[in-house]
């Protein structure tokens, strides 16, 4: 018997493709929203993954 490191299908590659595709639309509208709010001086306070 081979011990599998992580269970089969763990990659859920199809799921990630669906989720990432959908997020493309979400982030597009979010960037539009942030841009418009930015004009009025509002800045998003969300913590970002690239923050130091």
């Amino acid at each position: 018997m081979i011990l599998l490191y992580i269970d089969p299908g763990t990659g859920s590659f199809l799921v990630q493709a669906i989720v990432a595709g959908f997020l493309g639309i979400v982030f597009f509208f979010k960037s539009v929203k942030d841009y418009i709010l930015g004009i009025f001086g509002y800045k998003s306070k969300d913590q970002n993954i690239d923050d130091k």
């Binding site: 011990l3 490191y5 992580i6 269970d7 089969p8 299908g9 763990t10 990659g11 859920s12 590659f13 199809l14 799921v15 990630q16 493709a17 669906i18 989720v19 990432a20 595709g21 959908f22 997020l23 493309g24 979400v26 982030f27 969300d46 913590q47 970002n48 993954i49 690239d50």
Partner: protein, 260 residues
Amino acid sequence: MINNRIPSSFRDPSSFVFCLENKIFRSSQPNYKTTFNYLIESGLYNELTEKNYLIKHTFIRIDKDENQIIQPEHIPFISYPYEWSFEQIKDAALLTLKIQNIALRYNMSLKDASIYNVQFLNGKPIFIDSTSFEFNNDKPWTAYYQFCKHFLYPLWIMKYVSPELNSLYLSNLDGIDPKFTIQLMPIRAYFRLSIILHLLTPVFYRTNSEKSGSKLFSKEQHKRLLKHLFSIISSLHLPYKKGGWINYYVNGLPMLNYFG
């Protein structure tokens, strides 16, 4: 040295941990050599250790079977997720995502996102498995589903059901199954896009074959996924509950001149 192998270190085929004279060492197999050397030489190891995201190690030697022996920095106190608070689990999750995000820049990726790969050192979470990295080559994140089971679903359950359910880690060592999470979550939770995307989609679309695995997943898509997971987790907070001590100074002390 194999005799001193720590029994719980059995999963990863590329390395294992052993104990010798009360010191902890990690031995990585010859087939993992290229990957491990790339981790060090690419600068990823330096960047992660400078930020205190990954545990530092000292190279000891290459043994007669070509295994590389390293000695990771000593962690004096080992704790487990079922002992951690909501915020600690959240910090561990954010650390895993940050590491994956940085690794992508070096064309590397975490091959597993187990919560047991994180410990707390000097009050901060730190990733302890130096051999959890693999080449990415524009593949989707192998450990995405594991990340959800080990971090995202437990955090949601703690938030929406009860913070005491970190005890579920005890009975679910491989993380919490999405179907079980669905049974626990209240209806109101399903009005959130994040829950539809990361909890319902895996249940409906997850297949047990990796036939779609050959598909390329651009770095841009990968980063978008990580960014979304990061923003979901960083904005999770436990509901505010009034505890017995909240009005202590108002009601708890009978009189202001109580102490004379």
